[in-house]
């Protein structure tokens, strides 16, 4: 574990807290983070780039007479840190007071994140990987030289990236908080670009990500990316109108994120949410349950504490259509006069509906016909109304089978109406994603073309 924060680093964090108090802060929190990432990228079967990144920085949150400021620096010598904190305190003293600025109550903070290793997200193999091995891994699945293509397509380019990283974060505050999180990540990515006989280009990509090297699936990325590029050949325009929409698990989080944003305390406090006054109310169909699976051991994205050090909790965000939780940090709890919860969803998970065991093919078969969305191209939503409009990439399907790719289509609607038309949620969660959102199906969705 030679690459994790060392004792001297930890002493630096402790020293920062001490200086903050000595120089006039009432309370303070610091978060010291070290991250290392190595990446090898290949282009058309040859090494194209090799990068090595090592960063260490400290975030410092200062509270002085009900005044608050947040600061960060990567200049970490004791002398530089001291002068930075003095400067930071001078800034804080000049902002306006706000009695809601507080550290979290110690009873709410995580007591079970002392070593950083509790969630089994650290793979010791990380420490022994040599550069040569990274290069071999990045090169070994290349098919560029062997791929001749067909009469229908030829391969234009193949990009592959292998990377591994370590992040080690220690959070301390002047109420005695000590929380640590250590995580390794191994990532593999492939992007294949082909050209059809008419000169049209299509790119397909695929990736895998895991905290444990042995679980990294490097063999399927290149073939999957190539297949996804080939599948796009021959897109056709179809008429706009109402269709059943199936969203594959590779992009279905796009329609869940705005719901979570609308439940955030900052959005609620600023009246900038289409889920105002929704706590405890049924806003969605009974089939929708979203839980926060934040403490699953060995699963990337899990955390035992949020950035304030508050302990995460596995519970429901939306249960059978009823909003069960706003994300309220300590500051927003004061502003909204509500009980604090957690600052955000850590690893939200949409539960299967109406039954377990459904994957993309089964859901398409059940829906019989509609549009399968495999990617979103831009778009946005209105945070106060929930109206949205997104560009999509995908396929027309009939009798549960793909007919052809569609081109230049948009999906438009309102999130409350969209979710009220939920037909199915699978349990085919994509590994390596922070939001666990399976294949989803909705009826009567407006598509423009």
């Amino acid at each position: 574990m030679m690459n994790r924060l060392e004792k001297t680093d930890i002493q630096l964090a402790e020293m920062s807290l001490r200086i903050a108090l000595e120089k006039g802060a009432d309370m303070a929190r610091v978060s010291l983070s070290k991250s290392i990432m190595d990446l090898v990228g290949t282009l058309n079967g040859e090494v194209d780039k090799v990068t090595h990144n090592l960063s260490m920085s400290i975030n410092i949150y200062l509270f002085v007479n009900q005044r608050f400021g947040s600061f960060s620096t990567n200049r970490l010598s004791p002398e530089e840190l001291e002068s930075f904190i003095i400067k930071a305190l001078d800034i804080v003293r000049n902002v306006e007071p706000d009695s809601c600025r507080q550290l979290p109550d110690p009873s709410r903070t995580a007591q079970d994140a002392q070593s950083g290793l509790e969630l089994d997200l650290y793979d010791e193999r990380y420490e022994s990987i040599e550069e040569e091995e990274r290069i071999k891994t990045a090169l070994k699945t290349s098919v560029f030289a062997q791929t001749e293509g067909t009469q229908e397509w030829s391969l234009i380019s193949e990009e592959i990236e292998y990377s591994d990283s370590l992040t080690d974060t220690l959070t301390l505050d002047t109420n005695g908080l000590i929380c640590r999180h250590t995580e390794t990540s191994f990532d593999f990515y492939a992007c294949m670009t082909i050209q059809d006989k008419n000169g049209n280009k299509y790119s397909g990509y695929w990736w895998d990500s895991t905290p444990c090297l042995d679980k990294l699936d490097i063999s399927s990325c290149v073939p999957t990316a190539l297949r996804k590029a080939i599948e796009q050949i021959g897109p056709k325009s179809i008429d706009g109108g109402k269709y059943t929409m199936v969203i594959s698990n590779e992009c279905s989080a796009k329609v869940v994120s705005p719901l979570l944003n609308a439940l955030n305390g900052y959005s609620i406090q600023q009246n900038n949410s289409f889920l105002m006054d929704s706590l405890g109310k049924r806003m969605f169909p009974e089939g929708l349950t979203i839980t926060d699976n934040c403490r699953a051991r060995g699963q990337g994205g899990c955390r035992l504490f949020d950035s304030e050090g508050v302990s995460t909790k596995e519970d429901s965000i939306i249960e059978k259509g009823v909003v069960k939780k706003y994300f309220i940090n300590t500051y927003m709890a004061g502003k909204l006069n509500m009980d604090p919860t957690i600052e955000d969803a850590t690893r939200p998970c949409v539960l299967p509906f109406p039954e377990k065991g459904a994957s993309l093919p089964l859901i398409m078969e059940k829906c019989s016909e509609g549009i399968l969305v495999t990617g979103f191209n831009g778009g946005n939503s209105n945070s106060v109304t929930g109206d949205f409009s997104y560009g999509i990439e995908g396929f027309l399907f009939r009798e549960g089978k793909i007919v052809h790719p569609v081109r230049e289509m948009l999906v438009t609607g309102n999130f409350l109406r969209l979710w009220s038309n939920l037909i199915a949620a699978g349990d085919d969660y994509r590994r390596g994603t922070q939001k666990q959102v399976p294949t989803l199906a909705f009826k009567d969705v407006d598509f423009s073309a």
């Binding site: 920085s57 800034i91 600023q270 409009s389 997104y390 081109r407």
Partner: protein, 481 residues
């Protein structure tokens, strides 16, 4: 702002001899080009919420990025310390690229310096007349509170105002294996306002902002008035607005922020890295007609004070004006040093990066279309049925297929040559080459928007600007219900 050479050497605690020695370490394993990018950035932030400036921050980023090229292959590493041992370690990591690539397949780089001389303060495109850092916090608190008052005074329907003021001052020092030494200080000030409005039981929001490469002098009473007017502009229409009926239709894009069309529909596809890899829909269109005669599309680093302007790019290449489309014909991609070498052309000064922690890649700067001869009124009057749009939030493009989208916050239907029903919250999709070919009229009212535009690519964000005169596009697809 351009300080003395000594100022930058002192800031980074280096000497010219040290830079030369560090380059020698980086090149030791057989690299044929190497460069160093030193950065010392200070970013200040202040936020007004509920009438109070109750949060502020300061963020420091310091270090050096070291790049080694072997042909068009890249090795990159950085150090957050400019102590000699730390920099040498990073240089050795970056040097590894030379060992990792097949020597016989690589075309060596030119070893001739092209950009001689030291930076000229008289040619600086973003002098900081009033220092951001020397103004006290109290000054900024007063300014932000004036914004709150001004916005609330504009309309009784305002229920929330949030304003965010930030500045960044970056000292940059660049040196490379050709012996080229460049340095400068880049100021960037940004002011963003968002407001929530209530009418009866309906709620609406709006945002606006201004960002310039400028000192504290950009903050003025005029700016407060300008942004306060902008954020409530069209509010009556916004409460009335509906979604248009979706489908293909004629689109008039108003002058200014509609430059997002150029950024998404063609700008990204003109960046030469994706063309070098054969991935862009424009890869085989150099020298060919891509739109009507008379249309010129520019990517420009030379306009004083714009967010996308540069004295030098992040490879030390002088900022310049690059004509991408001249009289309707594609005449230049946007190059960094790697792609320029690949295509055998001079770099265009588009090698940019988010910070020293990232390697430079081809990026846009200020992208705009030059004026045509029509008037905006004539263009709108020529449309029997279509939409007019001029307020956007974001966009995206699929480089290979060429499909682009941008999100329209507000606009109007055009019926029989007149603006009629207000519309809002709709996405527009089109195909880059087709949309270019479908530009039928260009007005003479070019505006370069000074909003807080951020361009994201390969996990790197850089500030950009965009602009356009009013244009008529024969057809794009509009999202609707």
């Amino acid at each position: 702002m351009i300080n003395t050479e000594k100022y930058y050497f002192d800031t980074f605690q280096v000497t010219l001899d040290m830079l030369e020695s560090l380059i020698a370490v980086a090149m030791k394993d057989g690299g044929d080009y190497s460069d160093l990018y030193f950065e010392n950035s200070q970013m200040g932030t202040m936020i007004l919420r509920d009438g109070e400036v109750n949060s502020a921050g300061l963020h420091t980023l310091y270090g050096v990025g070291i790049r080694v090229l072997k042909g068009d292959k890249t090795g990159y590493a950085y150090s957050e310390s400019t102590a000699w041992p730390a920099m040498v370690q990073a240089a050795r990591s970056a040097a590894g690229i030379a060992m990792a690539v097949k020597r016989d397949s690589i075309q060596s780089a030119s070893s001739e310096a092209k950009y001689h001389g030291r930076p000229n303060p008289a040619a600086d495109r973003y002098p900081e007349k009033l220092s951001w850092q020397q103004c006290g916090m109290a000054d900024y608190v007063t300014f932000l509170k004036k914004i709150d008052t001004a916005v609330r005074a504009k309309d009784t329907r305002v229920i929330k105002v949030m304003a965010s003021l930030s500045y960044q001052i970056s000292d940059i020092l660049m040196f490379n294996s050709l012996g080229e030494l460049k340095y400068e200080t880049r100021p960037l000030g940004s002011l963003s306002i968002s407001a929530i409005f209530k009418q009866g039981d309906r709620v609406e929001n709006n945002t606006c902002g201004k960002s310039l490469r400028s000192g504290r002098e950009m903050l003025s009473d005029n700016l407060i008035e300008e942004l306060a007017c902008e954020i409530v502009k069209g509010l009556d229409q916004r409460f009335e607005a509906r979604r248009p009926k979706g489908g293909e239709m004629c689109v008039v894009m108003g002058a200014g922020a509609s430059g997002i069309l150029l950024h998404e529909a063609m700008g990204h596809a003109f960046e030469a890295d994706c063309n070098r890899k054969g991935q862009s829909i424009f890869s085989d269109k150099m020298g060919k007609r891509v739109c009507k005669k008379g249309i010129n599309i520019i990517d420009d680093a030379t306009i004083h004070g714009l967010r996308g302007s540069t004295n030098f790019d992040d490879e030390g290449v002088p900022g310049q004006r690059t004509c991408m489309v001249e009289d309707g014909v594609l005449c230049s991609y946007l190059h960094d040093r790697i792609s320029a070498r690949y295509y055998g052309v001079p770099p265009t000064g588009n090698g940019r990066r988010e910070s020293f922690q990232c390697m430079p890649i081809p990026r846009m700067r200020s992208t705009y279309m030059e004026n045509g001869e029509a008037s905006a009124q004539d263009i709108i009057a020529s449309v029997k049925k279509g939409i007019f749009v001029d307020n956007f939030s974001n966009g995206q493009v699929d480089i290979g297929v060429g499909d682009f989208t941008f999100y329209v916050k507000s606009g109007y239907l055009i019926e029989n040559g007149k603006l009629t029903m207000p519309i809002k919250d709709t996405n527009i999709i089109g195909n880059g080459p087709q949309a270019l070919a479908d530009i039928e009229m260009v007005a003479n009212d070019l505006i370069i928007d000074e909003g807080t535009w951020i361009c994201g690519k390969e996990q790197q964000n850089v500030p950009v600007s965009c602009g356009i005169p009013t244009v008529l596009i024969k057809k794009l697809t509009i999202g609707g219900e």
